[in-house]
Amino acid sequence: MAVQKLPIAKAINESLRTALDNDPKVLVMGEDVGKLGGVFRVTDGLQKDFGEDRVIDTPLAESGIVGTAIGLALRGYRPVVEIQFDGFVFPAYDQIVTQLAKMHARALGKVKVPVVVRIPYGGGIGAVEHHSESPEALFAHVAGLKVVTPSNSSDAYWMLQQAIQSDDPVIFFEPKRRYWDKGEVDTDAVPGDLHKAVVAKEGTDLTLVAYGPMVKVCLEAAAAAQEEGKSLEVLDLRSISPMDFDAVQKSVEKTRRLVVVHEAPVFLGSGAELAARITERCFYHLEAPVLRVGGYHAPYPPARLEDEYLPGLDRVLDAVDRSLAY
């Protein structure tokens, strides 16, 4: 099919389909992933085409889902697990942190647990509690896991391919509010490194780093700034563990200013690590402290307030201005 224009959700669907096609050991598991095709229809049609043995509706128990996926991986399978919403991954947190993340090391490398945990995450969809969170830092802090998140259809397709092929457990965060954003996917392309950031837009005055749902916001901010004569470089981080500090450093050495944007709360969010590390690497280059734009230190608010809570164009530009004012 080569190049197609697909929404992110459909790109993920295609990616799962390709993986199921290519490797009989790949399994898709989760609540409602089968007959329903997932609450976001991301797994639509897969059970029909690959059967109940490979696209598995599970009992309603996230620890069980991840725990049995680990067992299946030990048996040689490559389970791709879906957690229905960000806020429902926590019952599985113990299995992820104490088992999935550590089993390869515990076995001195003798076993592999190639489990992918797909998590639709982030806000902006007007949902009720627990359906809009961004818990990526809680996984990235944990050694043994890899954490990635695409921001567009091509990455959604390819990064998922790479995550499934990885012999490490990968937490795959999907920007749910962008599920219906369309983009080109070239299924014959040679993908880049799963864990490298990419420059989404070049610029000279300041670097904006974002990932997942916030890349779009930052691109919009860059466009708006352009009109005011400010040239912002936008980096799509793509991988949160490992983080591509080299790419950010390179950009910051050029622009000398860095603003990090994510939906997750600022306090101990991934922006903290970027700020700390880049400040260390670029201490003599920075004209301004690394500024961070993100969620507040309060439970995710009810839907009618989420626009205030989530970083938007204005808050990003405000931080840009503050940085440029140094």
Binding site: G64, G126, V128, L305
Partner: protein
């Protein structure tokens, strides 16, 4: 009709090591297939048939001897009001006034029967669908709408009606209920606690742990499982291969399956279970066998995963219809009762509609409130920054 919660099915499951059990023969390896879990033909406590006939129960009739025809009409009214409120909420969601609504359609008897079984001093831990229970507890229905409108995450004071907030993370409230019940026991109070959960929730580790804790501490809690046959798109067979009420036995307390569309039976069984709790006899599991007649929520499209005929077959068991038949056939309820009730329920619908439309958006500063009871320096800092940022717009600076 009799009940035997550790019934013949349980007996049939006794380990019979050397012989192979028909129910688990080789073919089962691929797919256990349709099991007893959802058959609904289990021994079921029923006092009112789908056809509206009263059946006798040696065990449970005594729990409803006080239920006069008037009381039956009250239960009927509760169910009608709950359904009307629920329908209004569905409409309001379609009109964009609510972001989401989980309908209770079909579960009115399970909710009203159990809700009316509780005493004022009992405490209720609902999931997110217990609008009918909320009604019975006296919670103003409009309060339930705030979280689905997106103006708050829980819009009532749980202690006003001893009705805890809705809990969305499946199963977690069963532990809260158990802990609360442990506290009730510590206090020497003779009240009880009731925890609602679904058939899907029965798979969560938290629910199992709540069974363990309640049994070990003999906590005065009733676990009320509304088995509405579906967890979003998954039928009960994806959660269990035996009827859910049997789960309790292995934890050392009784489980009973009641016809969840029979408000009288639900009332009787729940009263019995709550009284056990108050009498210091510990936890009970009640499985109300019912059916979710609507979609999982307004976001859901059940045609993707279940046949229309299934729903149709349950319409014949409608909880409201059967009580109406009984009232019309066996009591002197006149037509005016029903028309008056229609009018009353319409008034409720109107009131709810108006209340929702009048419901203001929360102040933006509200997102910093109540994160902590005793305050938190970072929240204070962020609140101040946010206020200054907002003020910058007001000042026309940006």
């Amino acid at each position: 009709m009799t009940v035997d919660s550790a019934d013949s099915t349980a007996a049939a499951q006794k380990a019979q090591p050397p012989r192979k059990r028909a129910a688990a023969k080789k073919s089962a390896k691929k797919s256990p297939g349709k099991t007893a879990a959802a058959s609904g033909t289990e021994q079921l406590v029923q006092l009112l048939t789908p056809e509206g006939e009263r059946v006798k129960s040696a065990e449970y009739d005594k729990y409803v001897t006080d239920i006069t025809d008037d009381a039956l009409r009250d239960l009927y009214r509760d169910m009608v009001m709950a359904r009307r409120f629920d329908a209004e909420a569905v409409t309001l969601q379609r009109q964009g006034e609510l972001g989401l609504w989980p309908s209770l359609l079909g579960q009115e008897a399970a909710q009203v029967g159990s809700g009316r079984a509780t005493r004022d001093d009992d405490y209720v831990f609902p999931t997110y669908r217990e609008h009918g229970v909320a009604w019975c507890r006296g919670v103003d229905p409009t309060n339930l709408l705030g979280m689905f409108r997106g103006v708050n995450n829980g819009g009532w004071d749980p202690n006003t009606n001893n009705f805890h907030l809705y809990t969305i993370v499946i199963g977690s409230q069963t532990l809260h209920a158990t802990g609360y019940a442990m506290g009730v026991a510590k206090d020497g109070a003779d009240s009880a606690v009731i925890a609602y959960f679904g058939d899907g929730a029965s798979s969560q580790g938290d629910v199992a742990e709540s069974f363990t804790f309640s049994a070990v501490y003999n906590a005065p809690v009733v676990f009320f499982c509304q088995n509405n046959q579906w967890a979003i798109s998954e039928p009960t067979e994806k959660q269990t291969r035996v009827p859910l009420y049997q789960r309790a036995q292995g934890y050392g307390f009784p489980g009973v399956r009641v016809d969840g569309n029979d408000v009288l039976a639900v009332l009787a069984v729940t009263r019995w279970a709550l009284q056990r709790a108050r009498d210091g006899e510990g936890p009970t599991l009640v499985e109300a066998f019912t059916y979710r007649m609507g979609a999982h929520t307004t976001s859901d499209d059940p045609t993707k995963y279940r046949a229309d005929e299934e729903r149709a077959s349950w319409e014949a068991k409608d909880p409201i219809l059967r009580l109406r038949t009984y009232l019309e056939t066996h009591t002197d309820t006149d037509a005016a009762f029903f028309t008056d009730l229609d009018a009353e329920s319409e008034t409720l619908g109107k009131r709810v509609r108006e209340a929702v439309r009048a419901m203001p958006d929360p102040d933006r500063m509200a997102m910093f409130e109540n994160a902590y009871a005793d305050g938190h320096a970072l929240v204070d800092e962020e609140r101040a920054q946010f206020a200054a940022y907002q003020a910058s717009f007001a000042d026309g600076e940006v």
